[in-house]
Amino acid sequence: MPYLICLKGVIIRELLRFLQQRERFFSALVRPLMWLFVFAAGFRAALGVSIIAPYETYITYEVYILPGLVGMIQLFNGMQSSLSMVYDREMGSMHVLLTSPMPRWFLLFGKLLAGAFVSIIQVYVFLIIAFGFGIELPPSGYLLVLPVLIVSSLMLGALGMVLSSRVKQLENFAGIMNFVIFPMFFLSSALYPIWKISESSIFLAQLCRFNPFTYAVELIRFSFYAQFNAQALWICLLSCLAFLSIALWGYDPAHIHKRGPK
């Protein structure tokens, strides 16, 4: 019971913070919507997408990038959560979390779940807006994507947590955003299929195949059409576990103290 109370408290706090920061909610939605309605409109003519799994017919470019943009929301949200963890550490409010008598792994996992909860809300608002503009999914897709969104947001949140455990100062975080978010997003199947990239560069296509974000996007894409992509699921789960282990190691007092005072 105390664990549930604690988890509920962490989620409520994250939700309250998210609701207080309206501009964060706004920008979290504007970013993918710009890609969907502006970028996709410009690129639909330039980029032909042939029939590939899980699609059974030709699709518009907007439909193709929808899972990638859902992944984008989760990627940015994961990084935003880790940014707020660095901020909390600098401001001292991280102390409140870490001095709780609950196990540290549970606290960090609770923080991850809270971030996942916030990111899933954003995803559904985005999908509703897209639906309003005629970019529809099979009705079952809206439900089937939910467990997948939990896995992908936990994986991306855990990656953000790894970064937050390594970054000492808030100022350094901008660089991390540039060196992590953009390469992860562009070197993936979010905006173009990997076969399309391999036409230009085999090397870049290989990089995309080593990028766990690619598998998060594919997992979302397949679940939209009630299909199961086991490879993508395993890679996401294993990546999540690996990131979480590194994050827990990074937040262990035995390793924190070695870095010394700020």
Partner: protein, 244 residues
């Protein structure tokens, strides 16, 4: 009888080889107000980082009611309440939201949590302002909110790190009085880290920390020959007054 807090040969060295604490040993008994007096950089905050399980000692042990903070941090943390030097309240949330969050982190359910929040805030005259955002509060009210928060789980030991920094004299006095009352009324033990001598009363257990080492300990009265300020300056070899 087991001391509530027992530091035994506590030492801590940072990676950059700066030894922040050297062989620090002292006890705090139940219901005792202990002033940890030291100039800036003496090692007070390093001690707090160890006590709050944010850092692990390089050598030695810190026991809280017999629980080693490095080995059994959860049992030890459950017995302690902290007020850190830096404000740790979430500025964009209200006092009530901050306190509810803290209560949940300690596994305190809604009903009991609300009851304790009301008790602690009323005690510190903050209950009527519970819906105000922390950002709108002045430094004194923020500190009071933090003390109320640190007491929600009824800790046996309250640790405050330079809790009065930046506050005016009257507010500082009110805080010091309140914390002394906690010792007398509830039997809560207090470790009050400060560099301000006027916050120490003559019966308070006092530890003078300098360069990470204990330079003197006893009651303030025992140490105060001819004055506590003179003793403090002699022991820490600083020619400047710490009275502000």
């Amino acid at each position: 009888m087991t001391a509530l807090l027992s530091a035994q040969n506590l030492s801590f060295t940072y990676e950059n080889t700066k030894q922040a604490l050297k062989d620090m040993s002292f006890n705090i008994e139940q219901g005792c107000f202990c002033a940890l007096l030291g100039p800036n950089g003496a090692g007070k905050s390093t001690f707090f980082a160890i006590a709050s399980a944010l850092n692990r000692p390089t050598y030695g042990n810190l026991f809280i009611h017999g629980y080693d903070i490095a080995q059994t941090p959860r049992a030890a943390l459950a017995l302690m309440g902290f007020v850190f030097q830096q404000t740790t309240l979430d500025l964009d949330l209200s006092i009530l939201q901050n306190l509810r969050y803290f209560a949940s982190l300690h596994g305190i359910g809604n009903k009991l949590g609300e009851q304790r929040i009301q008790e602690e805030l009323e005690r510190l005259d903050l209950y009527d302002r519970r819906h105000e955002k922390v950002r709108q509060l002045n430094g004194g009210h923020r500190r009071r909110a933090e003390i109320a928060r640190a007491l929600l789980h009824h800790p046996a030991l309250l640790l405050l790190d330079e809790a009065s920094v930046g506050l005016d004299i009257a507010t500082r006095r009110t805080l010091v009085d309140h914390v002394h009352h906690l010792c007398q009324e509830r039997g809560t033990s207090v470790l009050w880290a400060t560099h301000l001598i006027d916050e120490v009363r003559e019966n308070d257990q006092t530890i003078i920390l300098h360069n990470g080492q204990i330079a003197g300990q006893g009651t303030a009265h025992e140490l105060a020959a001819p004055t506590l300020e003179q003793t403090f300056n002699d022991l820490t070899q600083r020619g400047q007054t710490c009275l502000t």
